[in-house]
């Protein structure tokens, strides 16, 4: 895996891979999924793999993730093990409907025990494209197409499976739905998981997505998730990223909001060698509200890059964004927060905050707010800081007899808590708190909860 390859060569390798395997990629999938593929691969050809330094990838080298040799699976494998026996979530005592996807595939057998209310549709995206053809066709690839990103079009060209979730109009989910994405295998693997979530009018649901690796291979998960949130719906999306530190994760989340809808997204990055998150939120109709949060706690040589784009397309919407990062050792990170307030989007309220702590002189963080405001009656604010632990506060705690290490821990936790406290599942606030504390203390293993004990 020590080959050195430039992004252009890699692009041709990947396009070639598509051409060679086109028949198997398309096989067994309906037209409403396949019809986007050829155009997507042409877009990929046009866009290439963005090089480090390009506008949206100023501080992130995608080749760290894409420049390796991976295997691909264009067919579902016959699984012989029930995934739920391999893995227990590191978030204990969380009462959820649990769904498990393995290497991006949704296996019916893994999910017989989710006990979801009968009104909810939760199935493989392959299945949904046939059984819910109309709904699927209406929403699939619509948002990704509006923001053509190299990583997304690559996903569109190759995507084989993923999660489909439909919450019908007026339905209120009692418990959160937890989706556990597991990566495992004996060979390196690139997974293009594709998810589609539709939250009907006036519905309410909370989704918790946990990303894990169960074996030590190089993995690249390049996921695209499109979420359509209809009028007055309330939708929460929590993503806990905890893959091993040789793996790469590119997660693109698209959210489209109708009138009066309210969403909250929270991305928590604990482990993972290379993580790039794209969050696109379009406030397409009035009085929609989006809360976009992110927290990463990284060390070693981890790299985490969060890119967000909030599109205020119409008047009277609110967006509230807060990203925080704590970096130890040689970890690096970046935040790029674009907010677009379109010409007629009067009375927009858009707030953005990005705060970062570098614990060592070798940890590096780059932050770039990007506000484009074309309306004149708006309230917008942004703030970005990169700093160290507040020494005055640390001394204050120490002066009360609290040890230096413990004092730093309390301050880091407090820093992180500002993001955590916004979680709208009370029990999850506590569990997040515990996860964060264990991560900060270096006690949280990425393999925690796994029965395989591969190391």
């Amino acid at each position: 895996m020590s080959e050195s390859i430039d992004s252009n060569t890699m692009k041709y390798k990947l396009i070639n891979l598509y051409q060679q395997n086109r028949a198997s990629i398309l096989e067994g999938l309906p037209e409403n999924m396949n019809r986007y593929r050829d155009a997507a691969i042409r877009d990929f050809d046009r866009m290439g793999i963005p090089e480090k330094g390009e506008e949206k990838y100023k501080y992130t080298d995608l080749m760290w993730a894409f420049g390796k040799t991976y295997g691909y699976a264009f067919k579902a494998h016959t699984i012989n093990v029930d995934s739920s026996t391999l893995f227990q979530c590191a978030v204990p005592d969380l009462d959820t409907h649990t769904l498990i996807l393995e290497n991006g595939w949704f296996y019916e057998r893994n999910n017989e025990h989710a006990a979801l209310p009968k009104e909810i549709v939760a199935c493989s995206i392959r299945e949904a494209s046939v059984t819910h053809a109309e709904l699927f066709a209406k929403h699939y690839n619509q948002q990704a197409q509006e923001h053509p990103e190299s990583v997304s079009v690559f996903n569109t060209a190759f995507a084989q499976d993923g999660m489909f979730l439909y919450i019908p109009d007026g339905f209120v989910m009692g418990k959160p739905i937890q989706i556990i994405n597991l990566l495992r295998g004996n060979n390196p693997l690139l997974v293009n998981q594709r998810n589609l979530i539709v939250a009907g009018k006036n519905s309410q649901a909370k989704v918790i997505v946990c990303d894990h690796t169960l074996s030590h291979q190089n993995f690249l998960s390049n996921t695209v998730t499109e979420v359509f949130v209809d009028e007055q719906a309330v939708f929460d999306y929590y993503n806990i990223q905890n893959q091993h530190n040789q793996s790469s994760q590119v997660a693109s989340l698209y959210i489209y909001q109708k009138k009066g809808s309210n969403t909250l997204t929270n991305t928590l990055t604990l482990h993972g060698g290379f993580v790039r998150n794209n969050v696109f939120v379009k406030l397409a109709e009035e009085h929609a509200e989006a809360h976009v949060y992110g927290l990463s706690l990284i060390d070693g040589k981890q790299h985490v890059d969060n890119y967000t784009f909030i599109d205020h397309a119409v008047p009277n919407c609110l967006s509230n964004e807060m990203y925080k990062n704590i970096l130890d050792d040689d970890a690096t990170g970046a935040f790029n927060g674009r907010i677009l307030v379109r010409k007629d989007a009067q009375k927009t309220r858009a707030y953005q905050s990005n705060k970062n702590i570098c614990l060592t002189p070798t940890a590096r963080f780059f932050t770039k707010p990007q506000l484009e405001i074309y309306a004149d009656d708006v309230k917008c604010s942004h703030g970005a800081t990169v700093g160290q632990i507040n020494e005055e506060a640390q001394f204050y705690l120490q002066s009360r007899g609290i040890g230096g290490r413990e004092a730093r821990m309390m301050l880091m936790y407090a820093f992180a808590y500002e993001v955590i406290r916004n979680i709208r599942v009370p029990v999850l606030v506590e569990r997040y708190g515990e996860l964060v504390e264990r991560r900060l203390r270096g006690e949280l293993s990425r393999c925690e909860g796994c029965f395989v004990h591969c190391n």
Binding site: A393, L397, S399
Partner: protein, 240 residues
Amino acid sequence: MDGKEILKGINLEVKPGEVHAIMGPNGSGKSTLSAVLAGNGRFTVTDGEATFNGKNLLEMAPEDRAREGLFLSFQYPVEIPGVSMVNFMKTAVNEHRKYQGLEPMSAGDFLKMLRDKKQVVEIDDRLTSRSVNEGFSGGEKKKNEIFQMAMLEPKLSILDETDSGLDIDALRIVANGVNKLKNANNATIVITHYQRLLDYIVPDVVHILYNGLIVKTGGKELALELEAKGYDWIKEAVKV
């Protein structure tokens, strides 16, 4: 500090049961003295020694000084969003207990202690359920300092300009709290610019600090003399 010499000659002996006042004009080094004794890393001691409970204070980490029984009431208490008062105090009390070889306090005992000590400074229940000093008024912050002092039961308390920014009612409450905590085994150093606080906390000894030196030591009447004459006569006297 930053290559600047602030304290030049301090000779001070405080015995159990005593209250000492250190007075002086702005910039004389009062707050620096308290910061150095508490172990603030921003200052370096180039010469001299400080002994506390027979131990070399200056060699100890700030947390160990606290665990030995030193307490500093900050002139400007720090706001720490996200750290709750209850968690802060529970951690501090248990770290003190660990140092003394005691088991951590049970939740029930701790909460009872919290309730009892709140009485000392008439502190509001609301304040202890919030983040440390976050959004507290000036008076609330100072009350909170004395509340922490009550919780930790120090042997030596240094009150750094505890009176600054306090209205007369808050000043009375804070001073009463300090007096209630006073006993034959602990001592207090009151650092202040004005004499007013000393009407409430009556000192046994008064020192005048000027330009990094203790230039005069006397009884409580020295404070009154200062109040009447101001600091200029000290400055004049030192020049001669």
